[in-house]
Amino acid sequence: MSPVQTPPPSLKISTVPRDARAEHPVGIEVEHLNFYYGEKRALEDISLRIQSHLVTAFIGPSGCGKSTFLRTLNRMNDIIAGSRAEGKVLIEGRDVYAPGTDVVALRRRVGMVFQKSNPFPKSIFENVAYGLRINGLAGSRSELHARVEESLQSAAIWDEVKDRLHDSALALSGGQQQRLCIARALAIRPEILLMDEPASALDPIATQRIEELIYQLKAQYTIVIVTHNMQQAARVSDHTAFFWLGRLVEYGPTDRIFTNPAEKLTEDYVTGRFG
């Protein structure tokens, strides 16, 4: 595969031909998903299909359920006491909420990057190696080293850290920490990468690097990104879903959502009339 040339992010939407999208098979299918925190219903009857090897963005005002929805896809919400999901989340046709699902194996296939970078208080190397170690994915030392390097390169941070792999990850800048967290997620070779506002705590330069990275990664991964930054959604995503008060209002190709939305609510939101 030839390396992907990153175009200026603003030009990107028009470079993806509409027709090409239809060829991508469905990666995640969500059917009538309801989600509750205790008595409170956080998601109402969500159904959508996320296509593989595309970037899908979830947008909407704070508290609209977009992060909650993202976290249902790898069952990260399970660790919140009193939470409950109804409905189906099918990944490659298998319902991740079916009884008997191996959640650990699921999360290995569905990686996640969080809003605030959360490197472990270990060295840069050990941060990336952690997932490989706990999952027994690297048999030998040399294999471990190779996969750590490969992951750091995929996350476009290798050149910055290659000479100080054994320094604390906490000494890195915020943007570097976030790319390290992406490298950490990539190390275990997930198929799907969930990103929960990955650039919201970063400055514009660091944000741009993350966006370029997302663009490069979609050749290999299905990426779902939550963002409250509409320009970012427009720049990086192929499809966009707009959430409001726990409901999915509109979902479609990003350029249509932003230029010609079907719903009045979506139009009001993307034109900045509320949110």
Binding site: N74, M76, I79, A81, G82, V104, A105, R107, R108, G111, M112, F114, K116, N118, P119, F120, P121, K122, Y130, G131, I134, N135, S168, L170, C181, R184, A185, I188
Partner: protein, 319 residues
């Protein structure tokens, strides 16, 4: 110029000065205790010098005073208590903060904290009437092949080092576990989620949280150690009060605080009294050293940015 904040600033000065005085008083108090202990033990210090620390004879009648068996007894019982209490206390802390159902947490916290509220003397009574007979049964049941091991030699008396270490560990558990629990509570949820997102099992995620909190955990353990070193009443009642240096868990031994409690009221003669006060001085110095070591350890680890939160929590919990 009547700037509105000028008056506020003089208030500020009084406030600063006042609190500063309290801080200085506190330091002066610690120094005064040290000086007074030193003054009241001068006779003994002049008489024995360093030999006080290094000799084993404690004979008030002959006027011979050596503190070594007491120092041994204090350190040995405290370290044993630490070995027994630490895993249990951490287990309790982990269960309560990470695993227990939410509605079970409060009662469990209450119960472990209740342990800390029981007066030492009550622990001692319970030790004499319940723990010592059990320990004795256990000692009687020692299999032959174990009796060769230095830890298990001696007659099965019940009272002795084992009983003391057990009762100390029970008394230390609530302190260690409550600090450890606070420390675990201060670990950001994002750390656990980070581990889970990489396919960690709950146990692996907890281990990551423990690793994140390691500084505070060490602080919790050290706090327990400090408690064990100074604990007097319950230990006095079950340790057997016999100054000797031995590894045997079954042997009656003695601690510094126990000899002070037992002999101070009836100490006849100035040298005897001064020797006892010097024992107090030794205990004071040892606890001071242990504290300095543990603090400097914690501070050196706390220099890493991440531990700041955890350290704050540890300090909060310890207070």
């Amino acid at each position: 110029m009547a700037l509105p904040f000028v008056k506020g600033r003089s208030d500020e000065l009084i406030f600063r000065g006042g609190t500063g005085v309290f801080a200085v008083v506190l330091i002066a108090l610690v120094a005064a205790i040290g000086v007074e202990l030193y003054r009241q033990s001068l006779l003994s210090i002049r008489e024995f010098g360093w030999q006080f620390w290094l000799t084993d004879t404690w004979d008030p009648v002959a006027g011979q005073f050596g503190a070594r068996p007491f120092i041994w007894g204090t350190l040995y019982s405290s370290i044993l208590a630490l070995i027994i209490a630490t895993p249990i206390a951490l287990g309790i802390a982990i269960y309560i903060s990470e695993l227990a159902p939410v509605r079970l947490r409060r009662p469990l916290v209450f119960l472990t904290e209740l342990l800390a509220a029981i007066p030492s003397i009550v622990y001692g009574l319970w030790g004499i009437f319940v723990l010592v007979p059990i320990v004795r049964q256990f000692e009687i049941a020692t299999p032959e092949w174990l009796k060769g091991v230095p830890l298990f030699t001696g007659p099965p008396l019940g009272v002795g080092m084992l009983a003391a270490a057990l009762i100390l560990s029970i008394m230390v558990i609530p302190f260690t576990s409550s600090v450890a629990r606070e420390v675990l509570k201060a670990v950001p949820q994002a750390q656990r989620e980070g581990a889970y997102a990489l396919g960690a099992t709950p146990w692996e995620a907890i281990r990551m949280a423990l690793f994140y909190a390691r500084t505070g955990i060490i602080g919790a353990v050290m706090l327990g150690f400090g408690r064990a070193l100074g604990e007097t009443m319950a230990v006095t009642m079950v340790i057997g009060n016999n100054p000797q240096i031995t590894w045997s868990l079954y042997a009656p031994q003695y601690t510094m605080s126990a000899v002070l409690a037992n002999e101070f009221a009836e100490a006849a003669g100035d040298l005897y009294l001064h020797a006892l006060v010097e024992m107090g001085l030794v205990l004071f110095v040892i606890t001071l050293i242990i504290n300095v070591i543990s603090r400097s350890f914690i501070w050196s680890m706390a220099r890493q940015k991440q531990s700041r939160l955890v350290k704050t929590a540890a300090i909060k919990a310890a207070a």
